[in-house]
Amino acid sequence: MNQCACASRAQAAGEDLKKVDEIIARHGSGSGALIPVLQKVQDALGWLPKEALDRIAAGLHVPASNVYGVATFYAQFRLKPVGKYIIKVCHGTACHVAGAQKITEAFERELGVKDGETTADRMFTLESVACLGCCSLAPVAMVQKEAHGRLSADRVTKVVAEYRKAEGQAK
């Protein structure tokens, strides 16, 4: 039986906001708590929905404009939902000279999305990051917390296949 999607979505949003309230309660109020609260909320929800930002502004007694200003200033904060796996391709100096651009392109081909986008099935988000600091393994990409070093376009295909296999997705 199909249930009404609206109801379950509203319920999910309600649960999310409950998590936000709990995080605010743990960090006290004032602008000094803003960044840690945004970080914890993003950890819990995966991204920062507008409703969560409003809730944080009210909870910390910080103007909503400031919350939005901070959330958009720092690269860490996401205002859009992301995939289950976030692929971070390192574009640090060592990786750049080792061909990081080609690695990003290989992921783009493999996933069918552009850099910065999320696949339609919300499985993968492809990102470029400044430096992961594993320079001697260049070029490097990190999927969740696992680093994949000495990549080539060919190995990119294998890396994506690995995660697809883990998810039971055949290409």
């Binding site: 400031n66 860490q76 100096t93 060592a94 992961l132 600091g133």
Partner: protein, 595 residues
């Protein structure tokens, strides 16, 4: 350290590099294999041993024998390692990286180094305060609390000649003195661990491998300045470092080195970790403090300097990770011992993250005054893949490219600055002749342009205009006068920017124009990339004599640019080809060349 006399100790290097190379799997495999053999050994972890290029690394210390380090120990090597190197006590020469008294393959990497900051890295378990204590840890705080006045501590640091390792090189003792003398009773110590330069991982390695030494440096600074609260502002991208810092702080509090009444004396000091949120500009001290206060990390005009009005408008002393890690060593060994190393104006050692086209890339610490060439050739083992050294990029996006002809420049603040580069925080990327210098300049400007906070017009718009010109040049659309426009923009951005980001952003462009002007001219006038790196200026070609017509390249080509029948010479259509490099990677006969 802290080894019981009879037991063999096995340590796996679990720095971020080691973990990335699979050291966690090695550790699990060792745990299983040790249990299966019922071996009576101590299996533990340690931090970064520096030889990133040989990870995963495993150190074995047998009772009464010098420690031995084995390299590239993946799970499939674990069995033999235990059976031969531990049970039988033999040496496995082909896996031996280094071992005191035995000829290892990587001895050269270590022999020219002097390890002060890295004294405990890769030698102790970073999650064990007992290991740190056994290595002489927290002796410095004991010494200053029992036998030195705050003024004497400052004098000692001044006498050592220690300068800020974050990059600018301001004398640390003087900085401490300003803050100590500033009016006010509430003062702050900040450790800048927002290591943002691409290609730099020195601070991360120190925090991951020896967090207590940084805490101890901060506590000493707190005592000298009269501060009771310190913050560590650490990149959120460094989860392992943050995890180990948290452990270290809890341990130090429990043992009375941190908290109320440190070691029972009339001095209290607390440390809080603040995680950054991914903004390069927050490495700038005033932006960093704005970020701790929960604001957008935008720099402000100085003066007032942080020593007078910093965090929450209180006097604040801010130093980098490496600077703090030097402090306990100086207190214990004396300023004179530190000042004995280095050059006239640059004392002690400097840690570098050696990366790029070098054979042995990793974390290195060398005495000031060593030449760049010595670091690349003797420590780094020269250029990988038989190519030629072209230049050395120092100081990341704020620094510059030093050409091979100046590679005999000694490492000290003034000499490096004279080349147009800066010492920086320690990123050292070795560049060979396959790298295009215009592209390197474009790469760094792309970075600073994205990271500009937007406050100053020259930085915000000027870097954008410079980037557009560089993009045109690398695409073969360069025009006469572009170089001059770049130089003019660069000077204006330097003058018209409030903080270090804007003031230094043009450096990579200026140094590459200064030393590699011919490459710019080749791109602009001849529409040619001498390094054959800029994609719009190269084509891929099949070498007919070498092509057997195996069709491997045609099959992998994602855009179907390669045509050819079986056993016939293939052809790459330059109009369709995107120069992705997949065919070159796949062709075992090296039958595809770049022209």
């Amino acid at each position: 350290m802290n080894i019981s006399a009879e037991k063999t100790k096995i340590s796996v290097g679990l720095g971020a590099c080691g973990i990335a190379a699979g050291a966690q799997k090695t550790l699990s495999a060792l745990e299983e294999a040790v249990a299966a053999r019922a071996l009576d050994v101590e299996l533990g972890i340690t931090g970064c041993m520096g030889m990133c290029y040989r990870e995963p690394l495993v150190e074995i210390r047998r009772p009464g024998r010098p420690p031995v380090v084995y390299m590239e120990i993946h799970p499939d090597r674990v069995s033999r390692l235990l059976d031969e190197a531990v049970v039988k006590g033999e040496v496995i020469p082909e896996w031996l990286a280094t071992g005191e008294g035995q000829a290892g393959q990587e001895d050269a990497f270590l022999s020219r180094q002097v390890r002060i900051v890295l004294r405990n890295c890769g030698r102790i378990n970073p999650e064990s305060i007992d290991d740190y204590l056994a290595a002489g840890g927290y002796k410095a705080i004991e010494k200053v609390l029992t036998s030195m006045t705050p003024a004497q501590v400052i004098e000692e640091i001044k006498a050592s000649g220690l300068r800020g390792r974050g990059g600018a090189g301001f004398p640390t003792g003087m900085k401490w003195e300003f803050c100590a003398k500033a009016p006010g009773t509430e003062k702050y110590i900040i450790c800048n661990a927002d290591e943002g330069d691409p290609g730099a991982f020195m601070d991360r390695s120190v925090l991951e491998s020896d967090p207590h030494s940084v805490l101890e440096g901060m506590i000493v600074a707190g005592y000298a300045i009269g501060s009771h609260h310190g913050y560590i502002y650490c990149r959120a991208e460094y989860p392992v470092a943050i995890h180990r810092l948290n452990i270290a702080i809890a341990q130090a509090e429990k043992r009375g080195f941190l908290g109320e009444r440190v070691l029972g004396r009339d001095f209290s000091f607390h440390i809080t970790i603040k995680e950054g949120a991914g903004a390069f500009v927050c490495g700038e001290e005033t932006a960093l403090m704005a970020s701790i206060e929960g604001k957008r990390g935008m720099p402000r005009l100085r003066p007032p300097f942080p020593a007078i009005s910093g965090l929450w408008k209180k006097p604040t002393n801010i130093n980098n990770v490496e600077t703090f890690a030097n402090v306990p060593w100086i207190i214990i060994n004396g300023a004179a011992a530190y000042a004995a190393l280095g050059t006239e104006k640059s004392k002690g050692t400097k840690v570098f993250a050696l990366a790029g086209k070098v054979r042995r890339g990793g974390l290195v610490e060398v005495p000031m005054g060593m030449t760049l060439r010595q670091v690349v050739e003797e420590v780094g083992g020269g250029i990988a893949g038989g190519r030629k050294l072209k230049g050395i990029q120092m100081g990341g996006p704020s620094g510059g490219c030093i050409p091979e002809s100046l590679a005999d420049t000694p490492i000290d603040y003034e000499s490096i600055t004279r080349t147009g580069a800066i010492m920086g925080s320690g990123g050292m990327v070795v560049i060979d002749d396959s790298t295009c210098m215009v592209d390197v300049a474009r790469f760094f400007l792309d970075f600073t342009q994205k990271e500009s906070c937007g406050k100053c017009t020259f930085c915000r718009v000027g870097t954008r205009r410079m980037l557009e010109i560089l993009e045109r040049i690398t695409e073969g659309k360069g025009r006469e006068g572009d170089i001059e426009t770049l130089e003019e923009l660069a000077q204006n951005i330097k003058r018209g920017s409030l903080c270090g980001l804007g003031q230094t952003a043009p450096n990579p462009v200026l140094t590459t124009i200064r030393y590699f002007r011919d490459e710019y001219e080749a791109h602009i006038k001849e529409k040619r990339c001498p390094a054959k790196a800029c994609r719009k200026l190269i084509t891929y070609r099949v070498i007919p004599e070498k092509c057997p017509g195996c069709q491997v390249c045609a099959k992998v080509c994602p855009v179907k640019a390669i045509r050819g029948e079986k056993r016939q010479v293939h052809f790459i259509d330059p109009e369709i080809c995107t120069r992705c490099g997949l065919c070159i990677e796949k062709c075992k006969l090296k039958a595809i060349e770049v022209v």
